[in-house]
Symmetry: C2
């Protein structure tokens, strides 16, 4: 793996220098190859689905493993969109004349070599590899083992099309064995960024065992806070959506915080509605004094259920809600339901999360829903990229300085001086 | 230290919410307090200078330790500039209507708690603490032990002024013992970013021993490449500036690469000029066949001298220069001297460094010279910030989503759809 990533690193400079036209041609050739190879891809997917059947994998997971006509149309539409999207590379972020004939340009450029470890979803392989190509990066891809057969055919199809259209040999690599993940973690000299997606423990493991910068999220402990002045006609449907629309997602709400007066008046009826929606409720003693629910300890509020289970806690006011979220949350996405704009602004300014929402479902935290096109992941870190990460998170920048013989000594001695004039 | 940083983390939410007016008031109160306390500061500095004298510290280092009227005027001017600089916090980076009454805003915000470990320079303490305050961050500061007395008085002056002007208690902390650095490295739950400045080994040690993201640079192996079509009247003075103007700096050139034909014709006279400028030359066998110099091995070209010593290597062309730099360099700053724009562009696109220069000295890589105001450090990483890092590198962003009862279920089912309209 060291040898592979070292070679990719060398090829990454060529990859970074490909023109937009070449990168877009590679993308359209990939789309063409996927269409031409679709029977082989579907056949490989049938193998994965049979294995899933034999292994008695749940229906929900099987839905994600499946790669059919419909999913194929989705990924092809995704590639067509990606071709249209403006080039993230070569953007002039700053152009400044420091002095006569001394011009500084800050230009966006690819990161280099990115390792992405993702769940068993064949469409994710297509999305991730095409996002990396559009942004001029080389990528090492490791998908979930449940879709090994599909991924193998998809990867070969994409890789061959990319090579034929002018990409360097190291543009893409597939890692297949799980042992290769550990090898990859040691390649900090050649790999610039890791994006792990998957379970909490898995992402935590990656974060704790590599010197490579990691972008991603381990937990998704999201909150919905019903404020004193909430409109309950909005609050309850939002809460049900945030909890149940897709429970396995990291942006599903895990904890309901509710202001004490509202709880006193309305928690009973809210709880009935939530229960009718199939949600199991848990709460500390104060909650249990108002409604029937499973008892939980005050220190358990950092639990991520990824299921139709909801923690409930009663808080004094928006300040206590903010303090609870900053302590027990995972800095992912948290919502306030309120008609009071002051409380909303306070909440949105003081809650230290990638997404802070007013009067809508935490489930909106997603690259597609933000209009970014596909996303490579959601980051709960604050460094580099935060929240849903699309193409913008896959580039960095470099400073180009164009001179005509200038020396620092002349400026240090005062013979010359800077005049800093931003251009364009 | 765990307890201290945990408290700072809680205060960081208040710090992040301070208005620009308050942050600027804090800065002007700090400037006032520094002026009022200057006699005590100079007296403390005299103690440090006496100790330096006793310890026979070099004149160059003593120059950095000294904090006199002149340095005081510099730091006060720096604070005055900083007050004028536009607010890095609260910038609207994106404003998009996802659907009717569903508006997404991407807003810049402080990172939180930043740990900065810096060299023995009292002015650095003032610069770093004021940059953190301007950007709404809490900071833990650890300065070099050689200026312990000066730093103590400076820190107390700054900290008291900040508290009096409305900063939260945890806005700033000073770490004094060296053992506190190791404790700080373990505080990944409360500290969001570390910025170490100092020696190569020290920064490497920090990078290898913490889970906290680190921004900085260990090595500064910078190159100047004299291309086939270089104008030698520019090349030689630039090279002397890049090597000798301040040898201890990370952006000083350590290696001269020279195109083979140019070397054959001109290396002899170039070498004479460099030697007259007091530079010791080193080179591999090919270099030694042309000039007198110390012999070095082909694998030694990753050496950072921080002294008036220069490695020389002869290369075939710009491609070989690029390959050499990407292999032996430290991704800091590298320059090409050429009159051929195609070679310049190739070099600037393919060299994988934070700064890629044409026809000027590598010593320009500096926040002041880029017009950023003061810098907190120079990053050779590619994630988050690259090159000289000013205020922009001390902020991140959050996504605020303003809704009116929206649920994801409606969009997933097709009852509603996004229309993505960028505003403003």
């Amino acid at each position: 793996m060291q040898e592979i990533t070292r070679k990719m690193k060398l090829d990454s400079y060529q990859m970074a220098a490909l023109s937009l036209e070449t990168r877009n041609t590679i993308l359209s050739e990939i789309a063409k190859a996927l269409t031409e190879n679709q029977e082989a891809i579907f056949a490989a997917n049938a193998e994965d689905m049979e294995r899933a059947e034999r292994d008695q994998i749940s229906t929900a997971v099987k839905k994600r493993l499946k790669f059919d006509e419909h999913k194929m149309q989705d990924v092809l539409a995704g590639i067509a969109d990606l071709i249209q999207i403006a080039d993230p590379v070569g953007k002039v972020l700053l152009e400044r004349e420091l002095d006569e004939s001394l011009v500084l340009k800050k230009i966006s450029c690819p990161i280099g070599v990115i390792g992405i470890i993702f769940e068993a979803r064949p469409d994710a392989l297509v999305q991730i590899s095409t996002l990396c190509i559009k942004s001029g990066n080389c990528a090492i891809l490791k998908g979930g083992k449940e879709t090994a057969s599909t991924n193998k055919v998809l990867f070969q199809t994409i890789y061959q099309a990319a090579l034929n259209a002018g990409a360097p040999e190291g543009c893409l690599r597939q890692a297949e064995g799980h042992s290769e993940i550990d090898e990859l973690l040691a390649c900090h000299e050649s790999v610039d960024l890791l994006i792990p997606r998957g379970s909490n423990q898995f992402v935590q493991y990656i974060m704790n065992n590599t010197k490579i910068p990691v972008m991603g999220h381990a937990d998704g402990v999201c909150h919905t806070y019903i404020d004193e002045s909430a409109d309950l006609k909005k609050a309850v449907p939002i809460l049900i959506d945030a909890k149940t629309q897709y429970t396995a997602a990291c942006n599903a709400t895990e904890t309901l915080l509710i202001q004490r007066d509202v709880a006193g008046k309305h928690l009973k009826e809210i709880a009935e509605t939530l229960k009718s929606a199939g949600i199991t409720l848990r709460g500390n003693r104060e909650v249990l004094s108002l409604i029937e629910a499973e008892e939980m300890g005050d220190e358990e509020y950092n639990t991520e259920y990824l299921d139709t289970i909801l923690s409930i806690r009663i808080v004094k006011d928006v300040d206590e809600a903010i303090a609870h979220i900053n302590r027990f949350g995972s800095h992912h996405t948290d919502a306030i339901i309120t008609e009071n704009m002051d409380n909303a602004e306070k909440f949105m300014n003081l809650v230290d999360s990638a997404g802070v929402y007013m009067n809508c479902s935490t489930r909106f935290a997603d690259g597609y829903r933000y209009g970014f096109g596909a996303e490579v992941g959601i980051s709960t870190g604050k460094i580099h990229a935060r929240g849903p990460v699309g193409l913008d998170g896959l580039v960095t920048y470099k400073y180009k300085l164009y001179g005509n013989g200038q020396m620092v000594g002349d400026y240090a001695s005062g013979r010359k001086s800077f005049h800093f004039k931003d251009i364009g």
